[in-house]
């Protein structure tokens, strides 16, 4: 082995025995440090994966959704507007969507009821999301009662429970035939909830939206880019929860690192004094402290990141479930697809490992510069 490598190994041996001398303190330190990295990494992984998934899925969403606004609120759209929008040049396809919300008073959950264009869905039948089936404890072939606008129950046979992998978009969905949706919500023929527009050339979307607003000032076009931006903003670094967790974690970490940086214990000063008096150079002392810091911070970083990965992608971010679930009765169960970002991992590394290692070096450099005799006496 090369002499320089041998020297590093010897210093590492000494650093480890020094860490083991204060076993309890250093273990507690590594545990807290790992926990900080774990929380930060879990949040970064979770948010990044959700953002990526939203982007991938909403790429297939309608190019534009047109709503009608009445008194500042979303209102059903008359068929005449739907037909007129279809006529606008550049509009390739315009589908009237029929959907609404249904509050289930028995289970206390909010369901999204939607008309399915699938002709294989029979009248009086429903396709339901996994979350609905789980909450209502029903399976294929069972009947579910939904209370109509007049308070009378309408019975639907469950034709299919949607596949498990669709939970992220369809956990709360109840798909009915258009006629059944109209009966349930008392929506007369000729009215639609909104309109899904597909443009022949996506670059013409802004022009089409402007033409729609010009023709119908009460229309509100929502472009696909805006839908994507909503999720970008919701899970952005600036987002509420991210800011709260990140700032408190970073602040506590800064206090922790500052505490380390502002001073050494009398025992540590004495140790440095002894090392210098037996012939150690200041550089050797700094190398020793660098290895001590590197062992603790690297172990915490790698451990924290690995635990976070397992937590988010194998255990579906169980610890965040309560925050995400909020007041929802119906909560989707989904396994996220990892979307690791080298930039974010690097930022996490530099935010955690470097400040700690630097914080351990500064006070040692001060102590190493001092006279060994005074260091031992102090």
């Amino acid at each position: 082995m090369r002499p320089s490598l041998q020297r590093h190994r010897s210093v590492l041996d000494f650093a480890l025995s020094s860490l083991l001398r204060r076993k309890g303190r250093n273990l507690a330190l590594t545990a807290v440090y790992t926990l900080v990295v774990f929380v930060l990494a879990s949040l970064v992984f979770f948010v990044q994966a959700l953002k990526h998934e939203a982007g991938e899925l909403l790429e297939h969403a309608p190019d534009m959704v047109v709503q009608r606004m009445v008194a500042g609120r979303h209102d059903p759209m008359p068929a005449s507007q739907v037909d007129a929008i279809r006529e606008i040049r550049g509009v390739e396809e315009a589908e009237a969507r029929l959907w609404g919300y249904y509050y289930d008073p028995v289970y206390g959950g909010n369901l999204t009821v939607m008309a399915s264009p699938d002709p294989t869905l029979l009248p009086g039948s429903a396709r339901i999301g996994r979350g609905v089936a789980r909450n209502m404890r029903v399976a294929e072939g069972d009947m579910v009662p939904l209370r109509g606008y007049d308070g009378l129950p309408l019975l639907f046979t469950i034709q299919q429970v949607l596949a498990e992998e669709s939970e992220l978009v369809a956990s709360d969905l109840v798909l009915l035939t258009p006629a059944d949706v109209r009966t349930l919500f008392h929506l007369p023929e000729g009215l639609a909830t909104d309109l899904a527009v597909k443009a022949g050339n996506p670059r013409e979307l802004a022009t089409i939206a402007a033409k729609i607003v010009e023709k119908f000032p009460d229309a509100r076009p929502i472009l696909k880019a805006e839908m994507l931006r909503t999720y970008e903003a919701a899970f952005d670094w600036r987002g509420g929860l991210m800011v709260v967790v990140l700032s408190s974690a970073i602040l506590s970490f800064i206090i922790f690192a500052w505490d380390k940086a502002t001073g050494l214990s009398a025992e540590e000063r004495k140790e440095i004094g002894i090392l210098k008096s037996i012939g150690w150079e200041s550089g050797d002392v700094l190398l020793l402290k660098f290895w001590e810091g590197a062992v603790v911070s690297l172990a915490a970083f790698l451990g924290g990141v690995l635990l976070a990965y397992g937590h988010v992608f194998f255990f579906s971010a169980t610890l965040f479930e309560h925050a995400l679930k909020g007041w929802s009765v119906l909560f989707p169960r989904f396994r996220l697809i990892p979307a690791l970002d080298a930039y974010q991992l690097t930022v996490l590394f530099f935010l955690t490992v470097l400040p700690y290692t630097a914080a351990t070096l500064v006070p040692c450099w001060r102590a190493a510069m001092a006279d060994p005799d005074s260091a031992m006496r102090s």
């Binding site: 041996d13 969403a61 500042g72 999301g129 669709s166 790698l302 690995l306 990965y309 909020g326 990892p338």
Partner: protein
């Protein structure tokens, strides 16, 4: 055994797990299209616009389709009633510190 040998072995194992994590993520990404196929088919056929993450209110279930002031929709700076609202940043405008415009009668 020297403590450094044990420590380096431990770090090698952690580094190997870290590399395994990156490979696992890469592998899942490679099969993601297949895994996502069912969801994509539903989004396409029904024209879905939102993820089913928070179902407690209409403006958290469909944030992209919600009224303009959602999630703080009662009035722009109103606090949301649901914990999931903490994930959404409040709107930038109107700011409570923005100067109040003069009444039309007082305008020059």
């Amino acid at each position: 055994m020297r403590p450094s040998t044990l420590c380096l072995s431990l770090f090698s194992a952690l580094a190997a797990l870290f590399a395994g994590m990156l490979l696992h993520a890469h592998g899942r990404q490679a099969t993601a299209t297949q895994e996502r196929a069912g969801r994509v088919a539903l989004v396409r056929s029904l024209g879905l616009t939102d993820l089913c993450l928070f179902t407690e209110a209409r403006y958290t279930r469909h944030p992209a389709m919600a009224d303009r002031h959602a999630a703080f929709q009662d009035h722009p700076m109103a606090l949301d009633h649901f914990p999931s609202g903490s994930l959404l940043a409040p709107p930038q405008f109107p700011s409570p510190h923005a100067p109040i415009p003069p009444a039309p009668s007082q305008r020059p």
